[in-house]
Symmetry: C2
Subunit: 410 residues, 2 copies
C-alpha cells in the first residue's frame, strides 16, 4: 500500500513537449497517413459530388484524344519505336571501339552525332507533324531525353572501362577493375567487353536509372505482394489525376497537390514496380526532400536518378577540369533549365522561356534561403516556393497557350 502511494506521489518529471524544437523529436509518419486519408476522403467527396451533378466526367474517348488526333496515325508511338535505332547505334559503336576496328576519335564523333540526333530528330518530328498532340509530344520527348542521358552515361562508362583496360595492359595498375563482386547474389558477373550485349543494353534502357554500370546490384527475388501493392497505387494514381483536374483552377492549392501525387506515382509506385520486375536492387529514387531546409538540398534530393547523372557525368568531370564549384553548380542549373524548356516549348510549339527562367531563378532563391533562413523556417520557405512557384510557371504557359489557340485574352 505504501509502495503504491510512493510510486504515484511523484508523477511529473522535467521534460519538453514533443512539438517544441528543443525536444528533437521528428517521427511524424502519422501526419503522412493523415495527409493521405484527407486526400482520399476529400477526393471521394469531390468524385461523388461530380457524379451526382454531371454524371461521369472521365470520358475514355477524351483521354485517348489527349494522345491521338487521328486514330489511324500514332505519331508518338512510332517515334518511341524509332528510338531503337539510336540505342543500337550506340551499342554497335561501342562494340567496334572495344575490338579497336575504329579509332577513339571516330568513336567519339559517332557518339556525338548519335546523341545530337537524339535531341534534334524527335523535336523536328514533333514540330512538323500536325497530328501530334501536346501530351503525345511531351511523352515522346520525355522518352528521348531519358534515352539521351542514358546513352551519354553508357558511352562515358564504357570509355572509362577501356581506359582502365589499357592501363592494365601496360601493367600500370592491378587494383582497378570493372567487375563488381557481390557475394550475396546468384547472378553471374561480366567484365568489360562482355557487357556489350543486346540483353545488357536493353536491361539498362528499361532499368529505373540514368547511370550505366556493369553488373547492377540485383534484388534476390520478385516480391509478389510488393509488386501488387505498387501496381494498385499506379492504377489508383491514374484514376485520381482526372478527378482533381476537374476541380483544378490556377493559383489554387490542388495544382500543387497534382505535383505531389505525380511525385508519389512516378518516383515511388512506378519506379519501384519496374525495379521489382527487373530485380533492380538500387531503390533510392528520392531522398528526404520533404525535410529540406535549403533550395539546393531540395534539388539534390527529390530526383535522385537525374541528380546522380548530373553529379557523375557533368558536375564532377567539370570540377576535375578545374572549374570552380559555384560555376559548375550554375552550369548544372543551366542544363536543367535547358531540358525543362525543351520538354515544354517543343510540344506546345511556343518558345516563351518561362520554364528556363523558372529554373534559373532557383540560383538566387537558393542563395537567399541559404543566407537568411534555416531550420523549420528554411523548410517552410522551400515549401512555399514549391506551392507558389509551380502554379505560376504552369499558369504562364496555360495563359499563352489559350491566347494563341483560342484568340481572346483570358
Amino acid at each position: 500500500n505504501l509502495h503504491f502511494h510512493n510510486f504515484f506521489l511523484f508523477c511529473h518529471v522535467l521534460q519538453e513537449s514533443l512539438l517544441s524544437s528543443a525536444s528533437g523529436y521528428s517521427n511524424y509518419r502519422g501526419i503522412l497517413n493523415w495527409c493521405v486519408v484527407m486526400l482520399v476522403l476529400s477526393n471521394a467527396r469531390l468524385f461523388l459530388e461530380n457524379i451526382i451533378k454531371y454524371g461521369i466526367l472521365v470520358d475514355p474517348i477524351q483521354v485517348v484524344s489527349l494522345f491521338l488526333k487521328d486514330p489511324y496515325s500514332w505519331p508518338s508511338a512510332c517515334l518511341i519505336i524509332a528510338s531503337n535505332v539510336f540505342i543500337l547505334a550506340a551499342l554497335y559503336t561501342e562494340r567496334r571501339l572495344a575490338v579497336g576496328t575504329i579509332s577513339k576519335m571516330t568513336g567519339l564523333i559517332l557518339h556525338i552525332f548519335n546523341l545530337t540526333s537524339l535531341l534534334i530528330f524527335p523535336s523536328a518530328t514533333v514540330l512538323t507533324l500536325t497530328s501530334m498532340t501536346p501530351v503525345g509530344g511531351v511523352l515522346s520527348l520525355g522518352v528521348y531525353t531519358v534515352l539521351f542521358l542514358k546513352l551519354y552515361s553508357y558511352q562515358d562508362t564504357n570509355r572509362w572501362c577501356r581506359e582502365i583496360r589499357q592501363a592494365k595492359a601496360k601493367k600500370l595498375t592491378r587494383s582497378y577493375s570493372c567487375k563488381y563482386i557481390n557475394t550475396q547474389s546468384v547472378h553471374t558477373y561480366v567484365s568489360y567487353p562482355g557487357n556489350l550485349t543486346h540483353r545488357d543494353m536493353y536491361y539498362f534502357v528499361f532499368a529505373p536509372t540514368l547511370c550505366y554500370q556493369l553488373n547492377f546490384p540485383r534484388s534476390p527475388r520478385i516480391r509478389k505482394r510488393f509488386l501488387i501493392r505498387r501496381l494498385f497505387e499506379m492504377v489508383r494514381g491514374n484514376w485520381m489525376v482526372p478527378t482533381i483536374q476537374n476541380s483544378m483552377k490556377p493559383f489554387q492549392v490542388p495544382n500543387h497537390l497534382i505535383w505531389l501525387i505525380f511525385f508519389y506515382w512516378f518516383f515511388h509506385s512506378s519506379m519501384n514496380f519496374v525495379a521489382e520486375l527487373l530485380q533492380f536492387g538500387d531503390r533510392e529514387f528520392y531522398k528526404d526532400w520533404w525535410n529540406s531546409e535549403t533550395v539546393t538540398y531540395f534539388w539534390a534530393n527529390w530526383n535522385i536518378p537525374v541528380h546522380k547523372w548530373c553529379l557523375r557525368h557533368f558536375y564532377k568531370p567539370m570540377l576535375k577540369k578545374g572549374i570552380n564549384k559555384f560555376l559548375a553548380q550554375t552550369a548544372v542549373f543551366l542544363m536543367s533549365a535547358f531540358f525543362h524548356e525543351y520538354l515544354v516549348s517543343v510540344p506546345l510549339k511556343m518558345f516563351r522561356l518561362w520554364a528556363f527562367m523558372g529554373m534559373m531563378a532557383q540560383v538566387p532563391l537558393a542563395w537567399f534561403v541559404g543566407r537568411f533562413l534555416n531550420g523549420n523556417y528554411g523548410n517552410a520557405a522551400v515549401w512555399i516556393s514549391l506551392i507558389i512557384g509551380q502554379p505560376v510557371a504552369v499558369l504562364m504557359y496555360v495563359h499563352d497557350y489559350y491566347v494563341i489557340h483560342y484568340g481572346g485574352t483570358t
Copy 2:
C-alpha cells in the same frame, strides 16, 4: 584519373526507397511544416476573399455577445470567481486534517461534500440563469470540471502523505518520503504539512496539470523568446478560428481542422505559455498520438493531463481493489463519457446523450481496430474515426439546437 573513373564506375547499391515500409524511415518533420504552410496559405486566401466580398466579418461586438447577453451582468465571470470558495474549502479541510483537529471520517465527508458541490453548483447556476450564453456556460463548466479533478487529486495526494507520515511515526518505514530532491534546481523543498499554504495551492490551481504533487519539477528560468513565440501562436490561433468558422459547413473537412488547430493552440501554445510563466518543468501535455495505431493508444496519448489523472486517481486504485483490467478501462471511458456529456448538455440545456454515446462507442471501436487492423492501416482507421466521428457528433447537437431554438427543421 583512373582513381576518379573507378570511384564513379559503381554508383548503385542495394537499398530500399524511403517511403517503403521496409526502409523503417520515419522522419516526416517536413510534412508537418507542409501542413502548416498549406493551412496558413489557404486560410490567408479565404480571409482575403472574405474581406473582398463582405468586408471584415469578425465583429468584435459579435464575439463579445458569445460570452454576454447583458453587458451589466457577467454570469460566467462571477461563477469562475466564486470557485475560490471551493479551493479554500479544500485547503482548510486539509490543514485541519494535518494537525488532527478533525477526524479522518469528517475530513472525507467534508471533501466529498465540497467536490459534489463543485459539480452541482455551476450546473444549477447555468441551468437557472437565463443571461448565461452557451459559450459562457461551457467555459465556466470547463473551469469547474478542471477544478474538480485538481481538488480530487489534492485530497488524494495529501491523504497518501498522511499515511506515509503515520507509518514513519510508527517506525514502520524510512525509505518513503514526500520530499522530492532535485539537485539541479535552486528552489527550496517542502515536506508534507509544509505544503498546505495558499501559495502552493494557487500554484497548483494555475499549473497546467491535474495531478497534485509536492515540489513540482521546475524549469531553471523563463525563456523570453520561447514565451513570445507561444504568445504569438496563441494570438494567431484566436484569429484563425473565426476565419475558418465562416467557411465551415457540417461534414466538411475544415470541421476536423478546427479540432487540430484547437489541439495545437490549447495543448501546445497555451499550456506551454502558462508553464513557462510558472516555470513548471513537466511539459508532456501530449504524446505522439498522431502515430497511434490503435484507438486505445490515441485516447491514452492525446491528452496527457487527463490521462495521467485517470491512471493515478481512478484506474490504478481500481486495479488495486482487484477489479479486472477490461472493467476498469470501461469505467474510465464511462467517467469520460459522463464529463463530455456534462460539458455539452448543461450549457446547451439539451440532454441528448450524443456525447455520452460517442465516447462509449470508442470501446467497441477500439476492440475492432485492435483486432483487425495494424500498422499504417490502424493509423489510417484512427484518423478516419477522428475525421468522420467528430463532425457527426457536433452535427447532432447543432441539428437539435436549431430545431429547438429556431422551430423549423434544418
